[in-house]
Amino acid sequence: MTASTAPPPAAPEQADRGGFVRALARLGVAFAPLYVCTLLVWTVVHGLPLVVGYAIGALLDRAVAAPTDAGTWGLLALAVGAMAARALVLLPGLALDFTLIFRVSARLKERAVAATTGRSSARGPRLSGGDVLNRVRDDSDEVAEFLGWSADFVYRTVLLVIALVVLLRTDWVTTLALAPMVGGLAVAGLLKRRVGALADDTRARQGHIAGRITDVLTGIRDLRLGGRVDWHVEELSHSFGLRRGVQARHQMYTDLLSGLFRNIVMFGTAIVLVVVSTRLVGGGFTIGDLALFLTYVGWLSEQIFFFGRAVARHQNAKVSHERIGELWRGFRADRPVPAGPPLTELTVTGLARRGGDGPGSEPVAFTGRPGDVVLLTGPIGTGKSTLLRGLIGLDPAVAGSVRWNGREVLGDADWWRSPRVGFARQGAGFVDGTVRDNLVLGDPAVDEAVMARALAAVDLAPGSPELPDGLDTPVGAGGAQQLSGGQRQRLALARMLCRPAEVYVVDDCDSSLDAATARALWRTLPVRWPGLWVVVSHNEDLAAVADRVITVRKAGA
């Protein structure tokens, strides 16, 4: 119980190299009480049929001689009682099993989300939003379910040994004759590899399709108005068909694997019947022994069936662990914001876009102090946004030097966090929820007064036609109908102003504003929120009031 309230573990990078089994073991230990309870309850659930089978064997032997004797009825009562007890234990067993799997899966989901949102898109793995979501949603479940299965491994093995001892004591010749049933495990090894490869392929296709669907949804307006929706629907249907081909083959191999074991019960029964043919006639083997063997053969094959399926699932779970692990590989949680003195001077020299996708830019240099406004301007495609993102450590594709009171902080993603920096950009992302949700972002320090002040400064007063329901006005995630581009830009600014900062970094948040709004904005913000403002903008009013105006040019231009 206590395990679930603990924050996700801050697993260092090297822990991930320990392999899938060790990762599972760590998860098992983290949920030890729940895991052990599940284990115990399910041992009883799967152990009781063995008791039943033993009682029936004895019962049949007695029934031949004295069918209605009190001892015979007693054995029947024992068998029926054991079955009824099993029914009673099942309910808590199901609840425990579900809770364990869900909690483990939730832990993985939280860790993956924490690692994804804990790094900038340029520093984390390059995956589409749909692909990330797909991994968070499905792969975590696959891994957690397998951890649930690992408990089965433990108790089923114990019970298997007990069952074999009972059989060997009853008739060791017949028991040994059952050995070929286990031979199926070798075939499983061969099938397993194929299942793994196909699982890989299926998941990759799934991620790709999810990415494409997201892409179509984002561009829905252009596609609908341009009449190209149907083309995309056809393309995706085609992708579905290709995925289905792989999926069906994957399922077939998985079933082949599990079916192989499942049908061993039939062969096991046939083996028992053939082997005991001579012994029954001779009288060394009773009908009760036969019933015991037939019951246990069914039970044994159920266990082998499980192990076969587990082998197949193991491969799937390993692939899934690999995929979800990609989201947090190299990420270290809970890194504190490094301590440092308040800003007196920020010195930027030779800052330029290097590497990455775009061409290089001419290096820029400036010095700023609290209260200054530094404006970056220049033609598009010169990498102004990349420079800003690089300045605050979001994008590693920059070179040069950024000194905070003389201390080098370029590329130090941890340094550039609130309350040191505030950031707002054109095309900012929001979550589906209210204006309040999007301003607070889970920070209790952002109260009504803080929000009111920030919204007023960007001319988005609660209760105005722009925010008819005030802070409770819904904000759609994608491109809400109630919010125009200009409103979204101002909401991004307000979100930034709701938390303290020493450096305000603003990337083109006035392009969709009309001239008067933009001018009022730039007249207010640097005065009311004194700090160093580093702004990318084409606004001419801002150029007039900025302390420094820097024009960014393409390298070699």
């Binding site: 995956l127 997201t214 609908r224 579905f240």
Partner: protein, 571 residues
């Protein structure tokens, strides 16, 4: 209006595509069932022979017969699983395609845009995955297991009628409980799934916004909120899961009781010499055999419950939120004019009126600029003009046809839209510019790009084949906008609608852009929302929108005056 779509209807429609596979799977299933049922009968003969005076040879004969039946059963079982997988995922993909098509072609654009993508993705992919998995893994087997249970009961009835009667009564009780439990669990799963869709909608948004959250110190917030949300989801899903699977303990109890009845009666009969020990063993084997299908069914019923829940959700996706089918009128040939006549509008679900009695006339071939303060209603004017919403009052006409009634094919051919929200697809530069039309020659693409001053495309290592968009080469927003502009340039439309198209350009590019618009305006009608005075000089008229009303329409010298004194924009 759309006819109502039910979960069953959705399933039937999906199944039409794989009819052959479904029948094949059932045939294979029947063979494997027959083999399963024959087993205990053979064991009875074997035991009776063994207790009587018989030879080892006869017993081995029975044993080998059993082996043969088992082998056929195994092969039939494998064939069943292969065929049922194909059929299951075939049905699922048919439903998936149908829901996806519905979402992207029938839902209002504004509704799709305002919904988190994670939620829509879950609606299309998540639901269909459940359907496919449930049919492939449970759909056929559940039928097989029911048939196996019924077959077992019939045989028991013939052999030991007294025991058969008691067990049949129990089966009726269990079946009744099953139906009740299923209904309850379906409801619970539906609620849990909707909650789950909302949670993943949030996760999707948070992932998309991670570059904004990180510097603001809120990077840990999504995981924290997810933690709380998942705790609530656990309670909801566990209720649904345990409720659904309560069937398993129930069958266990059923098994215990029926076993007691069967064996009790059997022992009595054995005492009276009414049956043989072989028959008693067979009763036991059949009752034991009932256990497995019933246990299987409990997890399969769980899958079937999810299947029903998913089908209902799919049916709801297909009925709900569809745009009413418009009249689909084609636009008249020749130049197009635009007219707003006394237009009033409020967004659905909102009381706030965004437009009040807007009157605008744009004669064919002329260019109208729309200016106004942020939030004045300019974007709404364009949404209405694009037919994305229907005015509550008055009419919006393109070439005399109501904008919302224009046939989409005709609209796409005759009207170009350069939107503020222009999106670069995860595709090549060429595909993004030609908009997936592979008949456009490269020279034409280059000509347009050069005209827009986008020479940088030629510098790209893969040229027009460079993949951009998500996962591809990163472009600045200005570069992306130029590509979107080129997309519009390629189409020879009669009406051009521009929404803040110049908002992201630097002064130099903006000048080129303005000149270009001027040239475009010569041979087509233009309606453009603009914020910058400089881009207005190419317009024949400029409408000033204030608080959802047309405050003034400027012409000639007034536009020049406005362009020189941009503060006029916000009077």
């Amino acid at each position: 209006m759309t006819s109502t779509v039910t979960g069953r209807g959705v399933l039937g429609e999906g199944a039409r595509h794989v009819r052959g596979g479904i029948w094949g799977a059932f045939a294979a299933l029947a063979v494997s069932l027959a083999c399963d049922l024959a087993g205990p009968l053979l064991v009875r003969a074997y035991v009776d022979d063994a207790t009587g005076a018989t030879t080892t040879g006869a017993l081995v004969g029975y044993a080998l017969g059993y082996f043969g039946v088992a082998a056929v059963g195994v092969l039939a079982g494998l064939l069943t699983s292969y065929l049922s997988t194909n059929a299951g995922w075939g049905i699922a993909d048919a439903i998936r395609s149908r829901v996806f098509r519905h979402v992207v072609t029938r839902r209002p654009v504004l509704a799709v845009e305002s919904r988190p993508q994670g939620e829509t993705l879950e609606e299309v992919e998540g639901n269909a995955d459940i359907i496919g998995e449930a049919i492939a893994e449970a759909g056929f087997r559940v039928v097989g297991n029911i048939a196996l249970a019924v077959g077992t009961l019939v045989i028991m009835f013939t052999v030991v009628p007294q025991a058969g009667l008691g067990i049949t009564l129990l089966v009726v009780v269990v079946a009744f409980a099953l139906v009740k439990l299923t209904n309850l669990a379906v409801e619970r799963w539906e609620r849990a799934r909707e909650r789950k869709a909302r949670i993943f909608g949030f996760v999707g948004d948070a992932v998309a916004a991670r570059d904004d959250l990180l510097p603001l110190g809120a990077s840990g917030w999504p995981a924290r909120r997810l933690h709380g949300d998942l705790r609530e989801l656990l309670t909801a899903e566990r209720r649904a899961y345990v409720g659904g699977r309560a069937f398993w303990p129930l069958t266990q109890l059923f098994f215990a009781l029926s076993f007691g009845i069967g064996f009790g009666v059997g022992l009595q009969l054995l005492g009276q010499g009414g049956i043989t020990i072989g028959t008693l063993t067979m009763i036991y084997l059949y009752v034991d055999r009932l256990r497995e299908p019933l246990e299987d069914m409990s997890s399969q019923v769980d899958l079937v419950q999810r299947l029903l829940a998913a089908l209902n959700l799919a049916a709801r996706s297909l009925t709900g939120g569809a745009e009413p089918e418009g009249a689909r009128r084609p636009l008249p040939a020749g130049p197009l004019d635009v007219r707003f006549a006394d237009v009033g509008f409020a967004y659905p679900g909102s009381d706030a009126r965004v437009l009040h009695g807007v009157d605008l006339v744009v004669p064919a071939g002329s260019a109208l600029g729309v200016v106004g303060r942020t939030g004045a209603g300019k974007s709404t004017v364009l949404n209405l003009l694009c037919g994305l919403a229907r005015p509550d009052q008055g009419r919006v006409l393109i070439g005399g046809v109501d904008a919302a009634d224009v046939d989409p094919v005709s609209f796409a051919a005759r009207v170009s839209v350069l939107s503020q929200r222009a999106h670069l697809f995860a595709a090549t530069v060429r595909e993004n510019v030609t908009f997936f039309d592979d008949t456009v020659p490269d020279a034409e693409v280059h000509r347009v790009l050069d005209e827009l001053g986008a020479g940088w495309v030629r510098d790209l290592p893969d040229g027009l084949d460079t993949v951009v968009g998500t996962g591809g080469r990163a472009l600045s927003e200005g570069e992306a906008q130029v590509l979107a502009g080129a997309r519009v340039m390629l189409r020879h439309s009669d009406l051009l609608i521009v929404d803040e198209g110049t908002s992201r350009l630097d002064p130099e590019t903006e000048r080129g852009w303005t000149a270009l618009l001027g040239r475009l305006a010569e041979d087509r009608t233009v309606v453009m929302v603009a914020h910058r005075a400089a881009t207005l000089s190419a317009m024949d008229a400029v409408a000033v929108v204030v608080d959802g009303r047309v405050d003034d329409v400027l012409r000639g010298a007034d536009i020049t005056a406005l362009a020189e004194k941009p503060e006029e924009l916000s009077r």
